[in-house]
């Protein structure tokens, strides 16, 4: 490839990476933890609540109480048949919600009822949901708009990310084999960091291709659907999407009542219809209505697109079965998009790989941004822009890493204080405050000193979380899901410690780039990057 063309590819790759890098860092770091979303839900439950769940009502009694007390729940509800069963429903604003929040999704657990059978809202940690929102919408609230702003933004970022991958592939493909074995510093630590960026990019390319396409498809779905409807298919598209993605048409009530059978019977009817399915949740539309239906949803192991549904009528008659080999092309295409993105198709091994790839991805984006700032400063001379972007990158990345650790600490510690009622709010607030403070600090401090300090604090924060749980809950910290999450947090702490060691090595062996000490002067030499020099020669 000609040198000038290669250089344009490099420039475009760097620019696209820079434009999307910070948002992708947040999404990947939170996403790595979110791979274990289910386990995190168990981890966030305090020991006292788990003990109370042993005396709680069973799932059927929970379902009966919620549908009796909340008419809105009869229209549409989700039942989660877990150890501490839960029911979720949408409380519309005109249904006399009373003290409960109107116009939002509500969740009731089996432990949330007093002796008189009255629902009593208990404060619960919402850490897993916060991490999930941080992953897919950067925790940006939609403010009641019909479109999810944060999710659409991440969809657009994924498009840039995909374009950056195309250009990165063109740049690195011819020397793929060479770059595979290029991780050595030979006294040149800047080159080491660049090689590390390339190596991570090359090794995890298939993972990143999957993430960019599935992330863009899910994030930008609403936007693409609107444009597709406006330009190509017309207003009919909305109805077609609903028809093609629904497991069964919406309830057309004739006002005729039907007796609901116990939940265990619905689950057993679904098991008869699809014996290999393991149940994840149950959706009920039109509870007690003869036109209503029950969707028992779950997974069929052994498939990438493992999602399955058995739709039953109130009398347990099978209305529809959607499973691998028995579903439309649309369901066949959609199911792998979800599972490839969330990594829930291959057990703990695949989840562990996704976790590692997520952390490496975060390192890829932060190293890409740092390299871009240094390279821009080298080629164009000193600039406030490069210095600002380097500081912003460091402030935001360390802010998110330390902010998330603080959310974990609040989630575990606050339920044991008089402020337990504020736990869900405090988890979000503390992360936001830490991010803002560290960004402001990074803009004022020397990047070198700031990074050195943050790389010492961040691993200690992640080390403190399992320790806090051991102190507060003793052996509870070693139970299955808790042990897994605590182990992951220790892995994050060790990874950060390794980055700290490499960072200190770089400082020790190589003279820091002037950007890092805030001394970019006109005398600073301009030079071509490694790739550009190779292309020229």
């Amino acid at each position: 490839m000609k040198a000038d063309r290669l250089r344009r590819f490099i420039d475009l790759h760097a620019w696209l990476g820079m434009a999307s890098g910070l948002a992708l860092f947040v999404a990947f770091f939170a996403g790595a933890l979110n791979v274990f979303h289910h386990e995190l839900h168990h981890w966030q439950t305090p020991q006292a609540t788990e003990a109370a769940s042993q005396d709680a009502i069973d799932g059927q009694a929970l379902l009966d109480r919620v549908t009796d007390q909340y008419p809105d729940a009869r229209k549409r509800l989700f039942f989660l048949p877990e150890e501490d069963p839960a029911v979720m429903w949408f409380q519309s604003s005109d249904a006399g919600a009373g003290e409960r929040g109107a116009g939002e999704w509500l969740t009731a657990h089996a432990t949330d009822f007093d002796e008189a059978g009255k629902y009593v809202e208990k404060p619960r940690s919402a850490l897993a949901d916060f991490i999930n929102q941080l992953h897919y919408q950067l925790a940006i609230p939609s403010g009641g708009l019909p479109i999810n702003l944060g999710m659409t933004f991440m969809g657009l970022i994924s498009i840039l990310y995909g374009a950056a991958l195309f250009t990165g592939l063109v740049v690195h493909w011819p020397k793929l084999r060479k770059e595979f074995f290029a991780l050595k510093h030979e006294g040149n630590m800047r080159r080491y960091w660049k090689n590390m960026h390339n190596l991570i990019g090359v090794v995890s390319l298939p993972f990143h291709l999957i993430m960019s396409v599935t992330g863009a498809a899910m994030g930008a779905f609403t936007l693409v659907a609107v444009v597709l409807g406006t330009l190509v298919f017309g207003p009919q598209l909305r109805g077609v999407i609903e028809e093609e993605t629904a497991v069964w048409p919406p309830v057309q009530s004739q006002g005729e009542n039907a007796a609901m059978v116990p939940m265990a019977d619905y689950l057993s009817a679904a098991a008869d219809a699809l014996p290999e399915m393991s149940v994840d949740w149950v959706e009920i539309r039109g509870y007690g209505d003869a036109a209503g239906w029950v969707d028992v949803a779950g997974s069929v192991p052994g498939y990438v697109g493992h999602h399955a549904h058995v739709v039953l009528d109130p009398a347990m008659g099978v209305l529809n079965v959607i499973a691998p080999g028995q579903r439309s092309l649309n369901f066949d295409s959609f199911s792998p998009v979800y599972s490839l993105h969330f990594g829930d198709y291959g057990g703990m091994l695949v989840k562990g790989l996704y976790f590692a790839m997520g952390l490496l991805g975060a390192l890829l984006f932060v190293s890409g941004n740092v390299l871009w700032c240094e390279r821009r400063s080298d080629r164009q001379g000193p600039s406030r822009g490069s210095a600002f972007l380097l500081r912003l990158t460091l402030g935001l990345c360390f802010g998110v890493v330390i902010g998330v650790a603080c959310s974990f600490l609040v989630s575990k510690g606050l339920p044991y204080t008089p402020w337990a009622a504020w736990v869900a709010t405090a988890e979000r607030a503390v992360c936001g405050v830490v991010v803002v403070l560290l960004v402001l600090w990074s803009l004022r401090a020397s990047p070198l000193r700031f990074s050195g300090l943050m790389l010492m604090v961040a691993p200690l924060c992640y080390l403190a979380v399992p320790l806090l749980q051991v102190v507060l809950e003793g052996g509870h910290a070693l139970e299955a899901d808790n042990l897994l999450i605590n182990g992951l947090l220790l892995l994050v702490a060790s990874s950060l410690w390794v980055v700290r060691r490499q960072f200190r090595k770089r400082v020790r062996l190589a003279e820091p780039h002037p950007l890092w000490v805030g001394k970019v002067t006109q005398g600073h030499p301009k030079h071509l990057t490694e790739t550009e020099r190779e292309a020229v020669s």
Partner: protein, 85 residues
């Protein structure tokens, strides 16, 4: 500015190209909507790259605009809008 325009104009073109493909494929467009969605995202990424790559700014943007017009014109000859397969 150039990247923003490339990003903006590439979306309708990728959507319309996918629409033309839907008109050409002898299968009901409703039956492979999800694949069309995935195709649109891939095309969008590719178009952003192609338009942002050349050294000169305006020729690729003008070409993108012209392609949008041509694709829109071609779509009017199909029965997709508000119609069946």
């Amino acid at each position: 500015m150039r990247a923003f325009l490339a990003f903006l104009l590439s979306l309708p073109l990728s959507v319309m190209l996918m629409g033309l493909l839907a008109a050409a494929v002898p299968a009901p467009w409703q039956s492979w909507l999800v694949l069309q969605l995935l195709g649109v995202t891939l095309l969008w990424m590719l178009l952003v790259t192609l338009v942002a790559l050349p050294e000169r700014t305006w020729p690729p943007l003008v070409a993108l605009l012209v392609m949008n017009g041509l694709a829109w014109g071609a779509l009017q000859t199909t029965a997709l809008y508000g119609g069946g397969a």
